[in-house]
């Protein structure tokens, strides 16, 4: 009867050999490591350098106002109530235009994703119109719809509509076919496949599209308000520029930056809630 020899702990040879050497580490790097402190220090450093440059007279404050004067301009906007007037006008236009454009874009994107005929009809139109800067349509829209709020809202909606279609279509196309076959193998009805399989699966792509479309809406609202509006961040920027009030102008830019960051943060929160499964 054969026996399996018992094995003990392995023993390493002594280190007497002259050819013995340690294997050098060759890995590491090529990976993003979070460095939040660096970000804040760099940001604070740039602001400080900017302030010093103005205070020392190296830069003319008419061309570039100091961070301190921008803060003062911002504070005056807040206490005078003008900030709220301009913000509410811009946010109302962005909100209305974005919801209309996104709602239609989602519906048409899903239809094109699910129906080959809708795709065949829609794709050439989308491809042809998507690259057109939508602000170029504003004069035409003013001609059609008058000088009021409607052309501005339609400009924003049309700017949001096309990226939403493309993101939704890409999201629907990326739904793993095996999940659809699985649902079909259980005789799940088509509506169930759309709502329980396709839409949740396409959601990451759709939310990425939202991120792009919100930025587009922000660009378009400023541009539209510069062309024809009394109130709104764009109108405020244009007036400040015409009056050479560069501190007000920069305050408007800061407001836009904060607005963009806030909307981006809101979408991130939305993604964390709805895409926690990723």
């Amino acid at each position: 009867m054969s026996e399996i020899a018992a094995s003990g702990p392995s023993v390493l040879p002594s280190s007497g050999s002259p050819q013995r050497r340690e294997v050098e580490f060759r890995g590491g790097g090529f990976m993003a490591v979070p460095q939040p402190l660096y970000s804040w220090v760099a940001f604070a450093g740039i602001i400080a350098l900017w302030q010093v440059s103005i205070s020392a007279g190296w830069i003319d404050p008419v061309f570039l106002p100091s961070p301190a004067s921008i803060c003062i301009a911002l504070w005056q906007l807040v206490v005078s109530g003008d900030l709220w007037i301009h913000m509410s006008a811009s946010l109302s236009r962005i909100g209305t235009g974005w919801f209309i454009g996104t709602g239609l874009g989602l519906a048409i994107g899903v239809a094109m994703g699910l129906n080959s005929s809708a795709r065949a009809v829609g794709m050439p139109l989308v491809s042809a119109i998507y690259p057109v800067p939508k602000i170029a349509l504003l004069p035409l829209l003013i001609l059609w719809l008058g000088i009021g709020e409607t052309p501005k809202v339609v400009t924003i909606a049309s700017g949001v509509f096309f990226p939403t279609i493309i993101a939704t279509l890409a999201g629907v196309d990326a739904v793993p076919r095996n999940l659809i076959r699985m649902a079909q193998s259980f005789n799940m009805p088509t509506s169930g496949i759309i709502w329980k399989i396709m839409m949740p699966s396409a959601l990451p792509g759709i939310l990425s599209g939202f991120r792009i479309s919100v930025s587009t809406a922000l660009i378009l609202v400023v541009a539209a308000e510069m062309i024809g509006a009394q109130y709104g961040i764009g109108a405020f920027l244009l007036t400040a520029g015409n009056l050479m009030q560069s501190d007000d102008l920069m305050a408007g830019v800061v407001i836009l930056s904060i607005l963009g960051l806030s909307i981006g943060a809101a979408i991130t929160v939305f993604e964390r809630i709805f895409l926690r499964w990723r």
């Binding site: 999940l179 699985m182 799940m188 499964w277 990723r278």
Partner: protein, 257 residues
Amino acid sequence: MDVIIDVKRHSYDELLVLEDIKVHVREGEIVAVIGPSGCGKSTLLGIVGGILKASEGSVFLDGKPPADCLNPLTFIFQDFALLPWRTVAQNVGLPLEHHRLPSGQRNARIADALARTGLTDFAGALPKQLSGGMKQRVGIARALVVKPAVLLMDEPLSALDAQTRDLLMEDFLDLLLRERIAGIYVTHNFQEALRLADRVVVLSRRPGRIKEVVSIPIPQRERTDKAAVITLADLGNKLWSLIRDEASVADREVIHE
């Protein structure tokens, strides 16, 4: 419930994939399908399960499904096909959602399927939190929840590591025999075919035709006995000799999407 497969031919455009496949799977019987890569095994399973339509030929069901059966032909997928945004219990309950079951009955079915696959403690977990073996258990529980008559299994263990595969295969076999569920089991792995199947259908290289049907004369419960080892080894050699040359040629072929 019997499954009668009579697929005369199936092709993708000009590419003939399957030809003259006639198999009768009897109630409670487990039939493995093996063959070289690209011979149409998964296609055949898709046709049997009704998610692919044969170019010519049909598949028939004969007999009554078990009581409470909601989906007589039920798949277990190689890649698990779980919804990543749903918990284990929600994935298992998915096939019940379009049936008008009272909530008590629905919950009882889910709890039963989870218990039979050892997933009760993982009901609230998301798929990303599970190992490959546990994910496939969810796939099995999702199949059991509809009380199937026939399980259609497309290499259900091939995505798993060898240890998990062995463990799950025994659980799988236990389940199939205990529940008297018939199964069609597509695999590349002779050991799985020899462990699970009553009969092994050997397909030729594309276009897949039935080359031979090999019966395994030993009951599944006795196949781990020493006395069975030599017979099973002989059968394994026979299966390998049936596909070895064609498998070698198939390995060098261009894949047709």
